[in-house]
C-alpha cells in the first residue's frame, strides 16, 4: 500500500537522523572506557587471601584508628564537632561503623596500606609533595595485621536492611563531601574546608542521576579518573552492592517519580491505542460512503 511506503520512507529518514544525533553522537562525545572493576585488581599490596583475626583486629583498631576515627557501632563516639574535625584534618574523618559493609574487602585492605594510591589521587598528593593526605599509610603493618583490621571492621558493622541501606550507604560513602539539597542532606564537612582540602567544591548531587545517568555513574564512582582524568574525586572503593545502593538513593532523590511515570505511561499509551482503533473503525465507516 502506498501510504505504508510513504510511512516507511519517513521512518527511515527520521531513523537515520535520530541515530546520527543520539546514539552515534553520544558514542563520539563519550567514548566507552574500561568496564568497572569491583575487585580492584590493580591493588596488590596486601594478600587478601589471609583469614583475619577479629580479636587481634580489635586491638589494632583501638591502638591505631580511633585516635581520629569514631566507631560508633563499637561504642567509640565522635570526640569532636564536625567543623572542628574538618579544621583539624581537612575533611571530617569517616565513622568506621559501615566501612566493613560498604567497602570492597580488597580495596579496604589496600587503602589501609596506602590510602592515596588506592584512591587514585597521587596527582593531588604526590609523595613528598607540599600537601599530605591526612590519613597516614599503614604500610608498616603486615598483611596479616591489615586483614585482622578488616575482619574486625566487618564484624562490628551494624545490620542495615532493605531500602534503609540506600541512604545509609550514601551518607557514609558520599555525604561527607557532597550535599544533596533535594534530599535535605548537607555535606558534613563544611564547603570551604573541602575546597581547601580537595582543590574543588564537590557538586550537589541532587540531579546527578539525571545529568550523569546510571551508566556513567556506574563507571565513574568505581574509578573517577577513568572518566574524568585529573578530578579531585577519590576512588572510594565501594563494593558493587554498595555502589548500587548509592545510585538507588540518588534515583530516589533525583527522579522520585520514576515508578509513577512508568505506571501512568502504560495506561496513557493503552488509552491512546484504543482511541486509534476506534478512530480507524469510524474512518472506515465514513470513507466507505465516499470511495
Amino acid at each position: 500500500m502506498k501510504e505504508l511506503k510513504i510511512l516507511a520512507i519517513i521512518a527511515a529518514l527520521v531513523g537515520i537522523t535520530y541515530y546520527g544525533i543520539e546514539p552515534y553522537a553520544h558514542h563520539i562525545m563519550h567514548p566507552e572506557v574500561k568496564a568497572a572493576d569491583f575487585q580492584f585488581k590493580d591493588l596488590k599490596n596486601v594478600d587478601t587471601s589471609l583469614a583475619g583475626n577479629v580479636d587481634n583486629g580489635k586491638v589494632l583498631v583501638e591502638a591505631n584508628c580511633i585516635a581520629c576515627h569514631s566507631l560508633e557501632s563499637a561504642g567509640h563516639a565522635k570526640t569532636m564537632l564536625d567543623t572542628d574535625a574538618a579544621a583539624a584534618y581537612g575533611v571530617v574523618p569517616p565513622d568506621l561503623s559501615s566501612a566493613g559493609r560498604i567497602y570492597d574487602k580488597n580495596y579496604l585492605a589496600n587503602f589501609i596500606f596506602d590510602p592515596v594510591s588506592a584512591m587514585h589521587l597521587s596527582h593531588k598528593y604526590p609523595a613528598g609533595g607540599a600537601k599530605a593526605f591526612p590519613m597516614p599509610s599503614y604500610n608498616w603493618m603486615s598483611g596479616q595485621e591489615i586483614m585482622d583490621v578488616v575482619a574486625y571492621l566487618q564484624s562490628v558493622t551494624p545490620k542495615v536492611v532493605g531500602k534503609d541501606t540506600h541512604k545509609a550507604t550514601y551518607d557514609a560513602a558520599c555525604g561527607r563531601c557532597h550535599s544533596m539539597s533535594y534530599a535535605k542532606s548537607e555535606a558534613t564537612t563544611p564547603k570551604d574546608a573541602v575546597k581547601a582540602y580537595m582543590g574543588a567544591t564537590p557538586p550537589d548531587l541532587s540531579q546527578y542521576i539525571k545529568s550523569r545517568q546510571e551508566h556513567y555513574l556506574h563507571g565513574f564512582i568505581n574509578d573517577p579518573q577513568l572518566l574524568l582524568a585529573g578530578t579531585s574525586m577519590p576512588r572510594v572503593g565501594l563494593s558493587e552492592k554498595a555502589q548500587e545502593e548509592v545510585i538507588a538513593y540518588m534515583e530516589e532523590t533525583g527522579d522520585s517519580k520514576k515508578a509513577e511515570r512508568e505506571r501512568v505511561g502504560l495506561w496513557v499509551m493503552l488509552y491512546t491505542f484504543v482511541f486509534a482503533i476506534l478512530a480507524y473503525l469510524w474512518k472506515r465507516k465514513i470513507w466507505s460512503e465516499v470511495h
Binding site: E22, V264, V268
Partner: protein, 416 residues
C-alpha cells in the same frame, strides 16, 4: 435589524444570534478538501493538536515556574518535577512536545515542497507557514532557556552571540537582546515574557492567517490536480459522493486525521514517558554556571542543520573571515525557504518524483539536511569540519541552482 421570530429551541435561539448553521457549514461541513490525499495531509491537524497540547501543559507549568536565575532551576527540577502532583507529567509533555512538534513541522514542510504546494496561488499558504516556522523556532529557543540548566545557559550564550557578527551594530545588538553584557537574569525574564506571551500570541495570529490562506487556493492533492471545487462540491451535495473529487472537512477529512492522530499519539506518549532524553538533554540537569563551559555545546536537534551552516565556514575565503561567511550563510539559510515559490521556475505542480529534474534536487536536499543535522551535533574537529563545510556549500549551491534546474525542467515539459 432583521426581524426575530420566537425561537423554538435553544439551538435556534443561538442560531438566530450567532448564525451557527452557516458557520458550521462554512468552517466544517461544506469546507471542501480534495479526496485524493494521503496521511501526510493530516500533519496540519496534528500540528494544531500539538500546539493546543503545548499551550495547556504550558499553562500548568506556569503555575509553579519562577523566572529568576536563583529559583528557576529548582522550581522546575524540584517543585514541578517532584513535589507538585503530576507536575512531571506536564513538564515531560511540554518538553517532548516542543521537540516532536518540530518533527511534524518538518514533515509538513517537506510534504509541501514534495508536492509543490507552495506555488501557483498557494504562495501565501507557504509564506504564512514559514512565518509559523520562524515563530515556533523563537518559541523553542526561548523556552529552552527557562529551566536555566547548563545547556539553557550556554546555548543562549552562543546563539545570542551570533548577532554580534552583524556589521556596525553587532555589539550593541547583543547587549540589547540580552538586556545585559552577558546572559543574566534580565535575559531570562525577557525570554520568559517572549515565551509565554508575545510569541504565542503571534503564533495564534499566524495560524489564523495560515488557515485563512488555505481557503481560496484550496488544499493541494496527491497528483497536483487543479479542478473546479464548486462543481465537485455540487456533485457531492447532490449525493454523488463517490464520483466527487472533494470531501467535506467534517466529518470525512477529520475522521481520517483522527486516526492518524491516534497512531501519532501512541508514539508521542511513548516518547513522553519512556524515551525523552533527546528532548530533555541530560546536560541541562546541571544548573547554569557561567564559569563552567560544557565540553560540547549544541542547540536542540531542530536547529542543528542551520547551526552547521553557520559553523561550516571555518576559514577565511577571499579576505572575508570564516565567522562572517558563516553568518552570511546562516542568514541565507534562515530566509531562503521563504522565497522558495519564486526560486522554483517550473510551472509543474506534481509530486517531486513525477518531475524530471526537481526530483533530484528534492532528494539531494533531504540528504544534505540530514548530513548537516548530524554534523551539527558532532564536535567540529578534523574531518568533521570539512564535512560541515562541504554540506554547507552544498546547501547554498542547491538553492542557487534551483532556478536554473527548474527553468530547464519547464522547457523540457513545455509549460505543463
Amino acid at each position: 435589524m432583521a426581524e426575530f421570530k420566537q425561537a423554538d429551541s435553544m439551538y435556534e435561539w443561538f442560531d438566530q444570534r450567532l448564525g451557527i448553521d452557516k458557520f458550521v457549514k462554512v468552517m466544517m461541513t461544506e469546507y471542501w478538501i480534495p479526496k485524493n490525499i494521503n496521511f501526510l495531509w493530516a500533519m496540519g491537524v496534528l500540528l494544531s493538536v500539538m500546539f493546543t497540547i503545548l499551550v495547556v501543559s504550558g499553562i500548568f507549568l506556569l503555575m509553579y515556574y519562577k523566572p529568576d536565575v536563583n529559583m528557576a532551576f529548582d522550581s522546575v527540577n524540584y517543585t514541578i518535577m517532584q513535589e507538585v502532583g503530576y507536575g512531571w507529567l506536564f513538564r515531560h509533555i511540554h518538553a517532548v512536545g516542543a521537540s516532536v512538534v518540530f518533527l511534524i513541522i518538518y514533515i509538513h514542510m517537506f510534504t509541501g515542497i514534495y508536492y509543490g504546494s507552495y506555488k501557483k496561488g498557494r504562495e501565501m499558504i507557504w509564506i504564512s507557514g514559514m512565518l509559523l516556522f520562524v515563530l515556533f523556532s523563537a518559541e523553542g529557543f526561548s523556552g529552552y532557556m527557562l529551566p536555566w540548566g547548563q545547556m539553557s545557559y550556554w546555548a543562549a550564550y552562543v546563539i545570542t552571540e551570533i548577532f554580534g557578527g552583524v556589521p556596525l551594530i553587532g555589539g550593541d545588538l547583543v547587549v540589547w537582546i540580552r538586556g545585559n553584557f552577558y546572559v543574566s537574569d534580565s535575559t531570562l525574564t525577557r525570554f520568559f515574557m517572549l515565551h509565554v506571551l508575545l510569541v504565542p500570541l503571534a503564533i495564534i495570529g499566524a495560524i489564523v492567517l495560515h488557515f485563512y490562506a488555505l481557503r481560496f487556493p484550496h488544499v493541494n492533492n496527491e497528483e497536483g490536480e487543479f479542478f473546479d471545487f464548486d462543481k465537485e462540491a455540487e456533485k457531492y451535495l447532490a449525493g454523488d459522493k463517490k464520483n466527487s473529487k472533494v470531501v467535506p472537512f467534517w466529518p470525512v477529512f477529520l475522521s481520517k486525521d483522527f486516526f492518524v492522530l491516534g497512531v501519532f499519539l501512541v508514539f508521542f506518549f511513548y516518547l513522553v514517558f519512556f524515551h525523552y532524553d533527546f528532548a530533555m538533554d541530560p546536560v541541562n540537569f546541571d544548573k547554569a554556571d557561567g564559569l563552567k563551559t560544557p565540553a560540547h555545546i549544541y542547540p536542540e536537534w531542530y536547529f542543528l542543520w542551520s547551526y552547521e551552516v553557520l559553523r561550516g565556514f571555518f576559514f577565511e575565503i577571499a579576505g572575508i573571515s570564516g565567522k562572517s561567511l558563516g553568518l552570511i550563510a546562516f542568514a541565507v539559510a534562515q530566509g531562503v525557504f521563504f522565497v522558495l515559490p519564486w526560486l522554483d521556475r517550473s510551472p509543474m505542480v506534481k509530486p517531486a518524483n513525477q518531475r524530471p529534474y526537481f526530483k533530484y534536487w528534492f532528494w539531494f536536499l533531504m540528504v544534505d539536511l540530514i548530513v548537516l543535522t548530524v554534523y551539527g551535533k558532532l564536535p567540529p574537529t578534523g574531518a568533521n569540519a570539512w564535512v560541515g563545510f562541504a554540506s554547507s556549500m552544498t546547501f547554498l549551491i542547491l538553492f542557487i541552482a534551483l532556478p536554473f534546474i527548474t527553468k530547464a525542467e519547464a522547457k523540457k515539459v513545455g509549460g505543463k
